[in-house]
């Protein structure tokens, strides 16, 4: 039970280990002072602030942030301490100049498990730049919290002086200096973004990520201090679930909700939608977003991966049962045949029939169970598919017609569909995490994927480039303008007609590079970029990149490999495949492996490092749990649809608006 305090009100504290959560509409400095029974602060040792963030029993954060968590252990405080005042102040460096200009700060005293004990909203502040928000005080051996809300127009110095600190002015200066230092430290080279900052910078972090097969929460649930310069709310603000509106977002326009306006009903608001109660004896009706996650996108992503795993395992159970039934039938038939008593008369036939009947019965049972599971998953897919955001949606999903350029990088991208022969009714969206962790290889070779209808190599190559264009266009569309750059190398110009949608809409960084010289130039530029970013990261100075450095993700589409490649270019390509993903440079090869057979095993690591996709359905992708071969269906634009052109036109318009 939370006590919502008004100014002056107090509330007993039953616990001694507490957290004080502060949220404000703008980065604020949070600190605390400890005082004796007369309320006087003994000296600068009695002030916890960003410069000296911890003292026995008390810890504050080092930086100005819109959200803070102060840790207090009342038992660990010295006996002489009778009062702890929590103070907030606006940083001198930048930002609003008075509390009256920002949303009322909110302070909550919580237990370590997050349960709120008391909360207080500091309303009615005007020209003040520092305020004592709440104080914890000892009264007859027990601790209480009181809502204070005493503001000071003269700022921190006046506030500290009022608490009896002689060195108030100097200390206030030190605090502001420490905060200014913290702000400078926490602003990295790329332009500050909203709550997705954490995710979008992940590729820059050294070391590989979990890999696409490991679904996991998108962002840390607890705001980390180093990100303190931005708003530190949990990353829910982008989701459709936010009910509070976006007042805490620094960007002027807030996130753009690019979902279809009339599909609201399919995306229920937070908390995560639970399946409605079902009639007894029936499985619960599935609901879109019925999974864990901070935002609807993350919940849908986790739900899709949950469906993927469930289907993989249900089919594994079925296949295992069928295998067992077959081996048992073989064994029983063999036994019947080898039994000498059966040699005469119809004994062996009867035994064989019995064995077959047992086999059929077990297979039928297994099929029944599988059908039950598949029906449930198909029903779930039916509600999930229409609720998907553009990045996860098929090209024929109406969400693409209502496409608007996003403000945020989505969690994942749909590359196609996956299904298994036993479960025709269900296809699972194949979602990979963004930014990409591996490059892509669109296989234009004839190995397996193509049957005789695509005997003409030129037709195959054209289809492969078209598929690549659909993937690249999707990436361009789901990244915010200016955050994704596509380069194309098409040495012989063979893919010109298929690449036309990208080139015509002017969404490429430059026209497709032609010839050996163009290829070499493109590769050299990207190789230098990888070197530069790696150097900056290894040197621990990501903000030392040259001013105006384009921090967007880069995708290089290479068509018709190895035409136009010399040994040096091949080496550069391998270098990009190995080192690029961790610094935001990705490869998309459209190639027939056999055409580069002349290089021998030299290129094997290259092919292995790429995720192989096909322009036509092909069963070559394994799931991470039981390793079934799933049939991959590429995400291609339906024939005759204008959706790709419409979307690219909007992307191009947004990029021009972005100053490109």
């Amino acid at each position: 039970m939370t006590a919502e305090l008004v100014r002056g009100q107090n509330h007993p504290l039953s616990r001694t280990r507490l957290e004080i959560r502060v949220s404000a509409g703008t980065p604020v400095v949070a600190g605390a002072t400890v005082g004796d029974e007369n309320g006087r602060v003994p000296g600068i040792d009695g002030v916890a602030h960003p410069g000296t963030p911890s003292m026995p029993g008390l810890e504050v954060s080092r930086q100005a942030a819109a959200g803070h968590r102060l840790a207090v252990d009342l038992d660990a405080l010295p006996d002489t301490v009778h009062r702890v005042s929590v103070l907030l102040a606006l940083p001198d460096a930048g930002g609003p100049a008075r509390f009256g200009a920002v949303a009322a700060p909110f302070v909550a005293v919580t237990g370590l498990d997050g349960t709120e004990i008391a909360s207080y909203t500091l309303t009615g502040l005007e020209s003040e730049t520092a305020v004592v928000a709440v104080e914890l005080y000892r009264r007859q051996g027990a601790w209480k919290v009181r809502a204070v809300g005493q503001g000071y127009a003269g700022g921190l110095a006046e506030l500290l002086a009022d608490q009896g600190l002689a060195e108030a002015h100097r200390l206030a200066g030190n605090i502001q200096e420490a905060v200014a230092g913290g702000l400078a430290r926490s602003v990295a080279a790329p332009p500050p973004r909203t709550d997705d900052t954490d995710r979008s910078r992940r590729p820059v972090a050294p070391g590989p990520d979990h890999g696409a097969t490991a679904p996991r929460p998108a962002a840390d649930p607890v705001p980390q201090p180093p990100l303190g310069a931005g708003p530190a709310d949990p990353p829910t603000t982008a989701g459709p679930s936010t009910t509070a509106g976006p007042p805490t977002l620094p960007s002027a326009d807030g996130p753009v909700d690019y979902r279809h306006p009339r599909r609201q009903h399919a995306a229920p608001p937070a908390p995560p939608p639970a399946a409605p109660p079902s009639a007894p004896g029936e499985p619960a009706r599935p609901v879109a977003g019925d999974a864990t996650g901070w935002s609807m996108d993350e919940r849908l992503y986790n739900q899709v991966w949950g469906m993927f795993e469930d289907l993989a395992r249900s089919v594994a159970a079925y296949r295992s049962a069928v295998d067992f039934a077959e081996s048992r039938r073989e064994k029983e038939v063999d036994q019947a045949l080898s039994d000498p008593r059966n040699r005469i008369g119809g004994g062996s036939d009867a035994a064989r029939d019995a064995a077959r009947a047992r086999h059929a019965q077990l297979v039928a049972q297994a099929r029944e169970v599988l059908d039950r599971d598949v029906t449930q998953l198909a029903a779930e897919a039916d509600v999930v598919e229409p609720a998907l955001p553009a990045a996860y949606a098929r090209w024929d999903n109406p969400v693409w017609h209502a496409y608007r350029v996003p403000m945020e990088i989505p969690m994942a991208l749909r590359l196609g569909d996956l299904h298994l022969p036993e479960a025709d009714g269900v296809s699972i969206p194949m979602l990979v995490r963004l930014p990409l962790e591996r490059g892509l290889w669109i296989d234009s070779g004839r190995s397996g994927a193509f049957d005789d209808t695509f005997a003409d190599p030129r037709q195959r190559a054209h289809l492969a480039v078209e598929t690549a264009v659909a993937h690249a266009a999707r990436m361009l569309a789901v990244y915010p303008p200016g955050e994704f750059t596509v380069h194309v190398v098409d040495a012989a110009g063979a893919g010109a007609s298929a690449l036309a949608p990208l080139a015509d809409h002017d969404v490429l960084a430059a026209p497709p590079a032609r010839g050996a010289a163009g290829t070499a130039e493109s590769l050299t530029r990207l190789t230098q970029r990888v070197d530069l970013v790696q150097m900056a990261l290894r040197g621990g100075a990501p903000d030392a990149l040259p001013p105006g450095f384009d921090t967007s993700q880069q995708l290089l589409i290479v068509n018709d490999f190895p035409h136009g490649f010399d040994d040096r270019a091949v080496n550069q390509l391998r270098y990009l495949a190995d080192e690029g993903p961790s610094v935001g440079v990705h490869l998309m090869m459209v190639a027939d492996r056999e055409e580069s057979a002349a290089y021998g095993p030299l290129l094997d690591p290259l092919w292995r490092s790429l995720l192989r996709l096909t322009p036509v359905p092909d069963d070559h992708l394994a799931d991470p749990w039981v390793g079934h071969a799933w049939t991959y269906d590429p995400a291609v634009v339906p024939p005759g649809s204008r959706v790709l052109h419409d979307v690219l036109a909007r992307v191009a318009a947004a990029r021009r608006g972005d100053g490109r």
């Binding site: 395992r313 249900s314 594994a316 159970a317 079925y318 295992s320 049962a321 077990l362 049972q365 169970v369």
Partner: protein, 188 residues
């Protein structure tokens, strides 16, 4: 319940049990005398072997935490045991509705991976719990048991439309479930 006794997991109201959990808990034995605070780590492991007609089909243990069909899940290996709070340090969850149709018996075992016998382990127990209502179906105290390093604890097997459980409590020796296979086969 006693060794060899079978209980039906069919509920009295006709509904059958849908989910059971095997829990295993223990505490490392402290040394006596000087440096007594240095305990020797004891690693017990819980495993479940899935049988179809006496043929092992799948096994769930610390290197394979989920059966391929997803019906049996190990919650994760614990290498050192608990602090003696009496809680389960390792758990294996079985969703009986999802067990493939050809699987007719699931055998639960406990092994001492670090080789100590159950005489040296403190507060060790294993139990089988009905996950739907938290009711304990069977419980064995392993600690102070004989000089053995493994136990075949119980089996859950198909009976008619539902499942029933038989407590086994057979002592055995072995480091992992593979070593126990000869001991398991007679109890199937």
């Amino acid at each position: 319940m006693t060794k060899g006794q079978a209980i039906s997991l069919q509920k009295s109201d006709g509904g059958s049990l849908t989910s059971v959990r095997m829990g295993l808990g223990w505490q490392a034995a402290p040394r006596r005398g000087l440096f007594g605070s240095r305990t020797r780590e004891i690693d017990l492991d819980a495993s479940a072997v899935l049988f179809a007609d006496k043929q092992p089909v799948d096994v769930v243990f610390f290197r394979h935490l989920v059966s391929d069909d997803g019906s049996v899940r190990h919650t994760g290996d614990n290498l050192v045991g608990g602090v003696g709070q009496g809680g389960d340090d390792e758990s294996i969850l079985v969703d009986l509705q999802r067990v493939p149709v050809h699987i007719d018996q699931i055998v639960f075992t406990v092994n001492s991976f670090t080789g100590q016998t159950f005489q040296e382990v403190q507060n060790a127990f294993c139990r089988l719990v009905d996950e739907t209502n938290g009711q304990e179906l069977a419980r064995y105290t392993l600690a102070g048991g004989g000089p053995v390093t493994a136990q075949i604890m119980a089996k859950v097997h198909r009976a008619g439309q539902g499942w029933s459980m038989t407590a086994l409590g057979t002592p055995a020796n072995g480091r992992t479930f593979q070593d126990l296979m000869p001991a398991i086969l007679p109890v199937l």
